[in-house]
Symmetry: C2
């Protein structure tokens, strides 16, 4: 028993949770123990692997049903989904888009693709996501409401949208955020790339945004190889999202007409086949991930200087990635802990570098980001695969 | 024997080539008779389906070897490949990019993604592709050479690049086009989406451009479900292409730093696995497609009012899609012929609607497009799958 933080104690706690006898434990690896083979083989046997096919339709229907939205549109990845969400929400060249500084690069890149400019917002420690109360106060200072929307008085640019990201699967505090959006006339788009299976006040994340984005990258809770989806409750936006992601081709028996600049963002049928098989297993994956999170929580419950991140009150998190948070006074140990764990084959990583510290976004507007900066100094992600407790052999050889 | 064009004669000729007993003959369907299942199964068994994996590396190496370029970078589709080719060739917002009016929408869309403006060029009937001689004369009229490049005197915009497209696999006349590019200081980017397996003067298409784009969409000669590739002989551009298509992440054991606005355009490993299996079969596919083209040629060799398109002299075409060309005086029969063939399950289609006729590109600059307009009136694509002669049952049920 020690009352002081030590890396050895952290390693011991990790070892008590993680399976022994594996030379490498990745941060997140997929599990293909369902109908993946059967569905992919059906694609190959029938020749339907590409841009149309029954698995795309089925995956879209099942995603919409699971997340509780009217329309889901399968696309090639989460970045493409975000790009189209922004376009269809009316984000235009020269607009500013609010987003957390603590996010994956895709959120900021998608804004750049629209010719728009990220504007960085602080996070709250409770959710690891965008802080709606701090945002509301900030906007009261810098925003000016004009006839065509909310403007940043400091830059003169329109603030068209806000894109909260549900960090590691933990839902942002959506109710107060919606209130802020309503007060300032700002469109809400949820970056739900990490939060399939996460619920806020009993409803699935992605239901609050005008449009929302999911990701099925190989490291996500379910995977299609690469893939994503756009969610919306607006039928007309759903129709437009399908149209613009499939080259905006006007249906005709043989003519090739397109009525706007569109994108080739459709998800191939073979990837959707994987998605259908994975979605069938999602409840099992989520149960396993909750169990793992609970074991981590117990292992670190009494340890000084460090704690495990738990789902916010009122929310049910998918626990996509578990995270440790060092106390501020132990933050100096972060890199030593990253090294010690990775050296013994337990893959860990810090938070993403905050967006405003990257060269291409260094000149963007930002509020005080002290909480995000503190989280960046203190956060470490842990191995979180749903199959982590079940495997005895190395899955990746 | 009739000396007049008739739809019945065309149908009889098609029936003499095409297999009987199939209720529907698509324009182009894939064939999975090689190692597709073994390689895809390996992805599922090892868990490597996503953004990294050995099939991506192998597919890139084998593509580079086959096409004779130094670097091939696998991406999510041909449109993404074109987008990155344009960006890396230095196309910037406000530039003009020359391209044939007779092309698939992806060529023009990719230019739009850069904030640049298409500028439409006429085709030559011999290759169905961009006419380099007509382009040279046109540029002599409208172009002005300044220190930083070629400018369009009529619009004041810089003309940064030209993107010929090898229509249905038939190579554009590249030597005179390169001469025009050199004379006017315009970058050459080949849209080789349709021309994997097509050679100009003994060298594979895609070797002439500073960068070139391939497509492996489901209707192409080989398919990865959805996919594409960037080809280049410039090692530094190849390195940059890989970097910018993989979110521009700077390699590090755990840190997430990105040094430019990048894209999530990487090809998933599971799709690359399909590509490796398909590429092994390409020689067989090409032989079958040549055989089919020859049968079409013979069936239409003596028919009045119509002819089959053959590969240009000096070139070896992959015959991705076979095409019929009506004589100008029979062009009025095109739609009746499209209807008659599609009505009996022989899928045919006309050329793409010319780009300058689409709403969003109607205001773009263009030269005289009389040959492209004539081709559009007269052209009909025919079923061209490599497996067309081998199958007895419906592949798509």
């Amino acid at each position: 028993m020690t009352a002081e933080f030590s890396i050895e104690a952290v390693l011991a706690a990790l070892r008590s949770v993680l399976p022994s006898g594996k030379s490498f434990l990745p941060l997140h690896e997929p599990s293909f123990s369902g109908n993946e083979w059967a569905y992919v083989k059906e694609c190959l046997d029938t020749g339907w692997v590409s841009s149309v096919g029954k698995f795309v339709d089925r995956f879209e229907e099942e995603l919409a049903a699971y997340t509780g939205v009217k329309r889901a549109i399968a696309v090639v990845n989460g970045t493409a989904a975000l790009h189209v969400c922004l376009l269809l929400a009316g984000v235009r060249s020269g607009d500013e888009v609010l987003m957390p500084a603590l996010t994956f690069i895709a959120t900021a890149n998608a804004v750049s693709y629209c010719g728009a400019i990220p504007h960085f917002v602080d996070s709250e420690e409770r959710t690891l996501g965008l802080d709606p109360h701090k945002l509301g106060s900030y906007l009261a200072d810098i925003a000016e409401l004009r006839e065509d929307g909310c403007y940043n008085r400091l830059t003169g640019r329109r603030i068209k949208a806000v894109v909260p990201m549900h960090t590691f699967g933990h839902p942002v505090d959506l109710d107060p955020l919606c209130e802020v959006c309503g007060r300032f006339g700002i469109e809400l788009i949820e970056d739900a790339a990490e939060s399939l299976g996460s619920f806020y006040k009993g409803r699935h994340t992605g239901q609050w945004g005008k449009l929302s984005a999911l990701s099925f990258n190989g490291n996500k809770s379910i995977t299609t190889g690469g893939g994503g989806a756009i969610l919306t409750n607006d039928e007309e936006l759903g129709r437009l999202a399908k149209h613009i992601t499939t080259t905006a081709k006007v249906p005709h028996r043989w003519e090739f007409n397109h009525d706007m600049v569109g994108y080739n963002y459709r998800l191939p049928n073979i990837n959707a086949a994987l998605g259908c098989a994975q979605l069938e297993q999602l409840p099992g994956f989520l149960a396993a991930k909750h169990e793992l999170a609970e074991r981590y929580r117990q292992a670190f419950s009494d340890m000084p200087g460090i704690r495990i991140v738990s789902e916010p009150a009122d929310s049910q998190s998918n626990y996509w990635l578990n995270a440790l948070l060092l106390d501020e006074e132990c933050a100096g140990q972060r890199d030593a802990l990253l090294k010690a764990t990775n050296d013994i084959g337990i893959m860990t990583r810090p938070a993403w570098t905050l967006m405003h510290k990257l060269l291409m976004f260094a000149g963007c507007s930002k509020m005080d980001l002290s909480v995000a900066e503190s989280l960046e100094r203190r956060l470490i992600n842990l191995p979180s695969s749903s199959g982590l407790m079940n495997n005895d052999a190395d899955a990746h050889g």
